[in-house]
Amino acid sequence: MSLTVTGLRVHYRTLRGDVKALDGVTFSVADGEIMGLAGESGSGKSTLGKSLIRLDGRMRHVGGTVELDGVTLPIGDDAAMNAHRFREVSLVPQYAMSALNPTRRIGRMVSELLASRGAGPETAELERRLELVGLSRDVLDRYPGELSGGMRQRVVMVISTLLDPSLLIADEVTSALDVSTQRAVARTLREFRDRGLVKSMIVVTHDIALVHQIADTITVMYAGRLAEKAPAEALVTAPRHPYTRMLISSLPEAGVRHEDRRLAGIPGAPPSLLDPPAGCRFRDRCPLAFARCAEQPPFAEVAPGHHVACWKAE
């Protein structure tokens, strides 16, 4: 069992109270598994990614545990986490492309990073990995501004996986790319796993059609909790949670035109995470809601490897 997250709760402190961005999240990712993570904007996907790496100043670990390869990660303790970052778990953050330091050449960034982790520069290995993602070693002499978005994205992926972490979290790494580059980057992710450079992966994305191409399982979040986790094919073809169903049917298939068929979004908005209501958080928007939904449904296994948090999905 590679990653096991149990009852994880991480809140942001604000002047108006705690934002309960992760409120009891339980799942596991097996060795070799690529898990896609999707869900409405603001549902807590990036918060989950950050929680496994570094809590920023306002984030508070309120409860739950994270275990990686049998060892509990000290996620609330920034200094203690240092031993695990990059070596065991690594994150490619959302907007990583624009976050590269513009005044440093790529090569220098890489050697600084390795030095800070007490690892020596292994030029041959570095070049091999650049080649794997379709970059020449010349990029090491260039500044981030001189590379296209897709090239920068692949540089960040190489850097984050140099120390062969057990778990890689990639947050929206393809959203800013054009469709052909997206495909290349997505395939690179799978290649990293197939070659054993990383054991397992969490790929955060809005693009279910894309992640479905490379993921083994897909997990859907809603308002700080998990709604559903299932094998990728099952989630796309036979989703059980009402939110997942509505999400999948709101995807524009190629060729559909507004004049011919106006696709429907999901009416309403997710609840505020400052003071979320008790019970199922999808209740106000759910066409199937009934009295029992005032009680929080468990994230129950309804078929092998298929978990759903909905009273109607049993």
């Binding site: 580059t181 479905h212 298939e253 505020s272």
Partner: protein, 313 residues
């Protein structure tokens, strides 16, 4: 309303501006009131450069951009222009100052354009615009940019553009950061705004999103138009191999990439394979009414770039 006439852009690149980079060459198209034109192409094809020129954020190197017949270089009042033309860009974080609350973007347009509107009424308008992009005003007002997610920030920028009651919106990759259900809401919102007379230049790399809302499509490759026409024609009958490769790369829910790698095979060059009489625009041949395509880089068009999207590293 908006007209681009043979517009080119050359950037000076390299250490001393010694190298020249031709980002856009000889592009012409119009955007009319109540019309959505989608501008499609992979990254580096010059889409944002065109958008930035229209918004006067970077000068045109040659050719002309006119708005209601006036060259935008010669505008007497840029403020009056921005009252009618606004842009929303892909990276929402870059539009916010981290030391101020995110809703300052609304206060700024009030000070600039609506100083006389009463505070209570302004608040109502802001909340209405936020609900229009499916945001809960109570959840986003009064928060700092780092306290909001990327999708929330992006939608606030769209709400701001809507508040201005503009005539032309340049939307540069505004939906790639949004989740599927919000995407549809924003696309439907654009369609509703179009029905109200707004002209929209919708920049995207995803043909299926472009198809959903747009009336006309312009496909850009290496800074030049390779295909353009009514969206339904371009989509149903893509003529240029580049357009076809873009269409093939769109991920689909019910088809795996591994299964659909089939080579499209040889097709006649849409330009050189057309009768002379159809070559009615510079470098473009009209295959069916209003549907134009450029040379595919065939032998007769020797010297034309031959690289297709797939070969790009």
């Amino acid at each position: 309303m908006l007209r681009l006439d043979d517009v080119s852009k050359v950037y000076r690149a390299g250490a001393f501006g010694g190298r020249e980079l031709r980002a856009v060459s000889g592009v012409s198209f119009d955007v009319n009131a109540g019309e959505v034109v989608s501008l499609i192409g992979e990254s580096g094809s010059g889409k944002s450069t065109l958008g930035r020129m229209i918004l006067r954020l970077t000068p045109v190197s040659s050719g002309a951009i006119t708005f209601d017949g006036t060259d935008i270089r010669a505008l007497r009042s840029p403020k009056a222009y921005y009252r009618q033309v606004q842009g929303v860009f892909q990276d929402p974080f870059s539009c916010y100052n981290p030391v101020f609350k995110a809703d300052r973007v609304f206060a700024m347009i009030k000070d600039e354009y609506f100083p006389r509107v009463a505070a209570a009424e302004w608040r109502e308008r802001v909340e209405g615009a936020l609900r229009g992009v499916r945001l809960d005003p109570g959840q986003v007002l009064g928060r700092y940019p780092h306290q909001l997610s990327g999708g929330q920030l992006q939608r606030m920028l769209i709400a701001r553009a809507v508040l201005l009651d503009i005539r032309l919106l340049v939307a540069d990759e505004i939906i790639s950061m949004l989740d599927a259900s919000t995407r549809i809401d924003v696309l439907n919102l654009l369609a509703d705004l179009r029905a109200g007379g707004l002209g929209i230049l919708f920049v995207t790399h995803d043909l299926s999103l472009g198809t959903y809302v747009s009336d006309r499509t312009v496909v850009l490759r290496h800074g030049s138009v390779v295909e353009t026409g009514p969206t339904d024609l371009v989509f149903a009958n893509p003529l240029h191999p580049y357009t076809r490769s873009l269409l093939a790369a769109v991920p689909r829910l019910h088809a795996r990439w591994d299964e659909e790698e089939a080579d499209p095979g040889e097709t006649p060059c849409p330009y050189h394979g057309s009768p002379e009489g159809a070559r009615t625009r510079p470098g473009l041949a009209e295959a069916e009414p209003g549907h134009f395509a450029a040379c595919s880089g065939c032998a007769e068009g020797a010297g034309a770039p031959r690289k297709l999207a797939k070969e790009k590293a």
